[in-house]
Each structure stands twice: as structure tokens, then as C-alpha cells.
């Protein structure tokens, strides 16, 4: 898969929960090697949008383009599941060791030797070698996130969707996670990071998307840098710079 040539556009995504509208025509584009930041207040529908993009949640309505023309979401679900990996805010670890968790992301038709080689590569990539045989469920939040990123990297996706990837992490764990995200971007993977605390990702971000009242508005990260203020803070009329 040539991730650099990745292009996926989602158009007019609608979603209701219990008759409450969550998404009302959200649209966006994802490109290989480009990192986009999706922000918005809690409950604005960021996770729902990410899950719809990953093919895990059905929209009420919506279409997407994988390069040529718009196709209804329903007809592309399998493609989405093949091309896109979604990472939960608190990644789920399967029962077993870190090695077993990494092995889950590998295709079934490779040799045992190749399997071992790729697992070793994944462990090294995320700095997980010292805890390779540890039970994954017993790891700390930061370590779990690194296992999840290594799993995603081994899957070689065109697009990676990250839901609050550094939530409730200390400074060290956050920095290690950010380093891995940076390397994923360098590998040419299209990244979409959902966060309600976007300042952590500002250095990696090429474009900011603000999800407001079910619709996405595009913004430039340079504006945020300039004023040192996030869209949520701005909306709440908190002058971050003055405090």
C-alpha cells in the first residue's frame, strides 16, 4: 500500500442517537502524510465520527470517495476496515502478552519466521522489547497506547484515527506517544487525531478541524499558535494568553 498516495474524502455524514442529532453533514478529507486534528467539546461527536470513518459505526447517511467519485458509505465499509485503523482513547488489550497483541495485527498468511521478524520489528519500533512478555492487560495507560500504536503500525494502514491518544498521561508517556505519532506521519500514513485538548499535538498538525453542532469547520493551526488559544477556549471566551 502506498500510503503517500492515500486520499479518502468523507462527505455529508449524518448520525443521530436517540433522535438527538450528533453529526449533521460533517465532511473532511484525509491525505497520506498529513496530520489533521479534530477538536471540539466533549460530546460533540468526535469519537462517533472517527468510528464511522473507520467502518465500525454506521452513519444514518453519508458517502465517501477513495479517489474517484462519491460512493455511499455502506458500499465502502469493507474498504474502510481494510485501510483504516482506529485507536480507542483507552486501547483494548487482548488477553495474553504484548507479543500476542502485536501478532493479532499480522496477516494470517505469513510464515512463522516472518511473523517473528515483524513482531520483533514492532517491539523495537515502539520500545516495547523490555516488556514483550508482560501481560498486556496489566500495563500502564502509556504502555498500552504504545502497544496499540505498534499494533496499528504492523497493520500498515493507509489512515490512522486516534481518539484522545494522550488523555490522562504523564509528561513522559505523552512525549513517547507523540514521538511515535510523529514517526507514523513520516511513514506517510494519513493521521486524524481527535482531542479536546489539542495544544499537545499542535507541532504535528497540518490542519485543524473543529466539530461544532455536527458540522466540521476547517482552521489553520498557525492561528492557534499565534494566539496560544484553542477553539474550545476561544468559544468559552477564556483569554488563555492573559491569564
Amino acid at each position: 500500500m502506498n500510503a503517500d498516495k492515500t486520499y479518502i474524502a468523507f462527505n455529508n455524514i449524518h448520525k443521530h442517537y436517540n433522535r438527538r442529532p450528533i453529526l449533521m453533514g460533517a465532511s473532511m478529507e484525509l491525505k497520506g502524510g498529513v496530520c489533521k486534528l479534530l477538536t471540539g467539546p466533549n460530546g460533540s461527536g468526535k469519537s462517533t465520527l472517527l468510528q464511522i470513518c473507520a467502518g465500525l459505526e454506521k452513519p444514518d447517511q453519508g458517502e465517501l470517495s477513495l479517489g474517484v467519485g462519491m460512493i455511499p458509505w455502506k458500499r465502502c465499509r469493507r474498504s474502510l476496515l481494510e485501510k483504516i485503523v482506529y485507536l480507542h482513547q483507552h486501547p483494548y488489550m487482548f488477553e495474553g502478552s504484548v507479543i500476542k497483541n502485536l501478532a493479532y495485527a499480522l496477516p494470517g498468511d505469513i510464515t512463522y519466521k516472518e511473523r517473528l521478524r515483524r513482531i520483533e520489528k514492532g517491539l523495537e519500533w515502539a520500545g516495547l522489547t523490555p516488556i514483550a512478555n508482560t501481560r498486556a492487560k496489566s500495563l500502564s495507560g502509556g504502555e498500552k497506547q504504545r502497544v496499540a500504536l505498534a499494533r496499528a503500525w504492523l497493520r500498515n494502514p493507509a489512515v490512522l484515527l486516534l481518539d484522545e491518544p494522550t488523555a490522562s498521561m504523564d509528561q513522559v508517556a505523552r512525549q513517547r506517544t507523540l514521538d511515535l505519532i510523529k514517526r507514523l506521519k513520516q511513514d506517510g500514513i494519513a493521521l486524524l487525531i481527535a482531542s479536546h485538548d489539542p495544544m499537545h499535538f499542535i507541532n504535528e498538525t497540518d490542519q485543524c478541524l473543529v466539530l461544532k453542532q455536527g458540522v466540521i469547520h476547517e482552521e489553520s493551526p498557525s492561528d492557534w499558535n499565534l494566539h496560544n488559544i484553542t477553539p474550545i477556549q476561544r468559544d468559552q471566551e477564556i483569554n488563555y494568553g492573559a491569564s
Binding site: 465500525l56 485503523v85 483507552h90 483494548y92 493479532y104 495485527a105 497493520r155
Partner: protein, 233 residues
Amino acid sequence: MESLISTTLSAIALLLKADPDLWNIIAISFQVSGFALFIAAPPALLTAFFLAYGRFPGRRMLISIFSTLLSVPAVVVGLTFYLLLSRQGPLGDLKLLFTQWAMIIGQIALCFPILVSMGHSSLQAADKRAWETARTLGARPLGALMTVMYEVRFGLFAALLAGFGRIIAEVGASMMLGGNILNYTRNIPTAIALETSKGEFIQGIALGLVLIFMAFGLNILLHHVQGKGEVAS
């Protein structure tokens, strides 16, 4: 009290003596119930999975129906299948009545709702992220299903044990559908009922002990596979 102790000791002696009739009854019981569980488990667990993860009209009604079926007495299940399998019944031509197959059918009907209800409870309690993570990492629906089932394997194992416990100890359906024929359809509960009615308590107690030891053994096995039985740290 003395009589109870002496009868129990005689029952243990009978078990240890390897009485062929007695052990044949035990073998038939395990064979019939094991086979019934083996046939019922895959579709029941699949049904449980669809009830837990599927979103379709009538799902809640189906869950209620399976929960209701849990409390249907074995004798009613036996009567229903007796009517279906008897010569005048719609399935009379199959000539299954008073065969081990008839007992297996009855026992499948008895353990199916248990497997579905308990399986559903376990799968419903499973972390939704397990399914989503498996799918996003490339697992096909069947592969993701197996992953989720592995994640809740202890609950599913408990469901299998409960189902097996229910059918190996039931008397009503086996008696009506199997006919209690020696060396063919006589199993532990029907033999206990017969021997007790004849006043032959020794064999009844011996067979009862087998059921108690089996229940004890299965529970030890369950605790063993579950771990230490403590809250995970």
C-alpha cells in the same frame, strides 16, 4: 442414620466393584448429554452473540423468550417432544421415540435456552472495544467473534457447565423420550428414579454419588481455568 451410612458404604463398594450395568448407565448418561451439549453449543453461542451484538427488531422479545424457556420444566419439554415423535405425531415416521436420539433432541431443547441466556449475559458484559479492536485490526466478523468469545471464555465455560448440569440430571424428558430401556436409554436420573421406586437404594445412591462427584469435579475445573478466584489486580 445407621441405615443411611451402611447404604452409602454399600453404594461406594458397588461403584468400586465396577458393576457393568451400573457403569453402562453412567456411560449412556455422559454419552447422550455430552453429545446433546456438543450439538447445541455452537448455534446457541452464536444466537447469544447475535442477541448481544446485533441490532434488529424483536431482539428484546427474543431475549425474554429465551429467559422464559429457562424455567420450563423438563417434563413439559419431554411431553412436547413425545407428542411430536410419537407414531401419530408429525415426526412419527422418523421412529425416534425411545431411542438415544430422542433423548438427545429433548436435552438439546433443554440446554439451548441456558446456553443462550448465560452466553448472552457473558457476551453482553464483554468490552465492546474487544470487537471493535479486532475488526479494525483486520479480523473478519467470524474471527472477531472468536476473539470476543475467547475474551469472555470463563463466562461461556460456566454456561456450558450449567447446561451440562441441567441435562445430565434431568429425569422427565429422558424418561418420556428414552423409555428407560436397560443398556440403551437408561441413564443416571431415570435409573435412580426406577431403583428408588423398587426400594433398591444402593444403586440409586451410587448413581447419585456419581452426579455429585461430577458436579464437584466440573466446578473445580471451572475454578481452575478461571484462576485463583480473586479479583484481578
